[in-house]
Subunit: 145 residues, 2 copies
DNA sequence: GTAGTACCTAAACCTGACTTTAGGTCAAGG
DNA sequence: CCTTGACCTAAAGTCAGGTTTAGGTACTAC
């Protein structure tokens, strides 16, 4: 069993955030000892899942729903699996988006490196996409697809 | 030259958002024709960059700074390149984070699939990490690293 | 016995990124 | 002529996800 202060250190999260999560219902089965929160293995695992679902783009109120399903037992296994499948799809889509963004950023890095060397953008402005070096052209195409 | 309505359709962004971006200074050299905004090639390219920088996690006020640098000319090439380099690093870090998240999600999918088959989590609870199937163990380790 | 530390609550506040509202201009069509 | 549609502004409202504030409890150390 951990205190809120210990969990705050373990997860590098402000205490206020942990209390906020609790208030929002993210730890539906957390116990108290004369008013003081007791974080057990259940809550620590819950926090790992919270961080995962948050990173996946899920909102707090939907994370709360998931935590409630966990309390409801085996009847909700299918819904819980569905949720993770949906999140998986969302994250896969976001990674594709980020890959495009990354290629755009790499293209811009090359662009400004060239502009610095030239001292201006004149040559760059005259360049057609297929005048670009092969590797840079790939970044450009990927970023604009 | 495009009207705000045309750009809204092109980028699939609400007109209100485009006006908001303008108000925030994201199109520092946009022209007006008797009060009406005129989006030229500069503004369209600006919007592509805005979407890229926003996806990379940059705030509106910092995108504004970048747009101002663009107006200042060659003197700011180095700063602009620096900005894209920094964004590149940030996105690369985020992709690593998302890869971990994805492995956690895949692990949870496997977990609940197994729970559905078993009808309970008893067997899963007794499993030590290295009792897991090799591929699942990899997901688990990656997600918890 | 009182100062410090770790915990608690309710409620107000904050930030970023928009969106909505209320009111106005202007050109074209019936 | 008057209504419809596309544009305009300033200002207020919204929403998520916290954070801060103000005030209180309870144990420990000096």
């Amino acid at each position: 069993m951990y205190t809120i202060g210990q969990v705050s250190e373990m997860f590098n999260l402000p205490i206020s955030t942990l209390r906020y999560y609790d208030k929002e219902g993210l730890f539906p089965s957390m116990q108290r000892q004369s008013g003081i929160r007791q974080f057990g293995e259940t809550e620590v695992e819950a926090l790992r899942v919270i961080e995962c679902l948050k990173t996946s783009g899920l909102e707090i109120k939907d994370i709360k729903k998931f935590m409630e399903w966990c309390v409801e037992g085996p009847a909700t296994y299918a819904q819980r699996k569905e949720l993770f499948e949906t999140r998986k799809t969302a994250v896969e889509a976001e990674m594709i988006q980020l890959q495009k963004t990354l290629d755009m950023l790499r293209f811009k890095c090359w662009y400004y490196e060239t502009a610095i060397q030239d001292g201006n953008e004149d040559r760059l402005n005259d360049l057609m996409p297929n005048d670009l070096p092969a590797d840079i052209q790939k970044l450009y195409n990927n970023a604009h697809s």
